[in-house]
Amino acid sequence: MIEKALRGNSRYWGWIGFLFIVIFVGFLFYLRQFGYGLGITGLNRDVTWGLYIAQFTFLVGVAASAVMVVLPYYLHDFKAFGKITILGETLAIASVVMCGTFIFVDMGQPLRIPNVFIFPSPNSLMFWDTIALGGYLVLNVIISINVIASEKKGTPPPGWIKPIILLSIPWAISIHTVTAFLYSGLAARPFWMTAILAPRFLASAFSGGPALLLLLVFLLRKFTRFDPGREPIQKLGLIITYAMTINVFFVLMEIFTAFYSGIPEHLDHFKFLYVGLHGNTTLVPWMWVSSILAVISLVLLYIPKTRNNETVLGLACVTVFVSIWIEKGLGMVITGFVPNPLGEVTRYWPTFTETMITIGVYAIGALIVTIFYKATLSIRGEVSV
């Protein structure tokens, strides 16, 4: 399987080379952080988690969203997803690897991470999240490798893989639920301490993840002979429409509860997000862009004429993805710390080093996705080399 990824045309190698350079640059910046400490980031005593943990959270969602193609295909035998299911599963692998890497780069003493296993602490949600994500990675690696291998042999996947695939469905839900519990169980952070956090995470995951998958499908179709046909694209578009609707609905519920109750410790966080707090408006323009994009995406997705037009659908996917990335990959984590439990507002914004490390980690994910997609498409004869 892997040998298929080791052959390709010059455009393929150019892309791989580019990713390696980005990863290497990210690694060099990480060495700086490793030597100096996390003080090289924008983090501080009040805002102790930032870009890294936010990307982790966002990507757990992308990983979980594979279930949106796995479930229809394997549970309901929805044949049209036959060509894209493996793309979703391998995207999940890349996402979990990025999640782990973001956790690694966020640790103050990364070399002590084995302590999590040496001193297992069932009290801590982080312990359970490690198990959930680790398990999900193993499941998806087993599934993907076997499915790709059987495609190569031209046989249906072995029978024993079916129960593992079915297990991966609730497991996908669990990874994002446990990740939400990581936040929603903290009495110290009223912004996160909401029972709707896990459902909200799932809704944003099931819209943002498939939107990314659909964009990747469009890219593959443009650059290779891969063509899943019209039906799966339209179905995925419909899934995104429903999930995005639920996501926006949940956000509005949060906003209603905070503003109508008027309890300052809840309200202040939302003020920080949408109007600024104590003169700090760091996230305000971002959140408004996110909100406007969400509205645009829903309009584009609701009208059958625009949703059925694949160019417009692609545009809608971009708006969904960017809107959710801002909401989850920027707003969700930082705002939990602003204001802090003492009511103080401290500014946080990622530094250049932090941003470069983040881009480097994303490049690792892109590399994994590329390798898996290349192997799959080569086996199917959908790329020339």
Binding site: G37, G108, Q109, S124, M126, A188, R189, P341, L342
Partner: protein
Amino acid sequence: MTIDRRKFIKTAGLASLAGLVGKNVLGQDVSEVIEPGAFDRLAGLQSPLQAQRWAMAVDIKKCENQHDCTKCIDACHLVHNVPEFDNPKDEIKWIWKEPFEHAFHEQENEFQKTELIHSTPLLFCNHCDNPPCVSVCPTRATWKREDGIVMMDWHRCIGCRYCMAGCPYGSRSFNWRDPRPFIKNLQRDYPTRMRGVVEKCTFCDERLALGMLPACVEACDAGALVFGDLEDPEADIRKLLNDNFSIRRKPGLGTQPEIYYIVS
């Protein structure tokens, strides 16, 4: 006081050692070189301070009367090798002063006693009975002792900062960079920390073990800090809390902080 076998042997051994080196190689008298009571403490003759439930009472009025006094903070930060940074981004603090409206966020009101509303109460780790930081720690690098002290193992901490997200009091600090160059006056009898770990007040567990009160309590001449065992009906802190009105930070969270603020 009964002396058990172990203590007797230790005492006898140390006594003979002291006898042997009555005058050291430089001809100095040992008593001038070794601090008074050191042998006693080593021998365990000065027994450690023990309790079932350690707690601290802070008398805001007595503390405020000292105006810009920072003796307790200075003493704590000195004995614990707490680094001093000149920017708030890297800041590490075990004890600090915070305006009342922040210290008692959402417990303040516009027409409160002027002296209270303008006060800057001292903040510590609250050594909660139900510490959220302990629940969230993925390596049990922070834990609660039987006597209620919330401890911290800097050698096990992986620096994930989940405890900082979980603490409702902002009591924990993280070493964003190597703290050692920023320690003004290095104390050799207390460890320094490295970058990438969390630290906080430990009610001076190392001093209690040697029979000494916490450094901040000892440093306060105003008597604004009273430390003791809440399970001991005769303890000063019990009488103080019985006779005065006290408040705690964020009482609604169920953490049961063990720092009491006397506001009467």
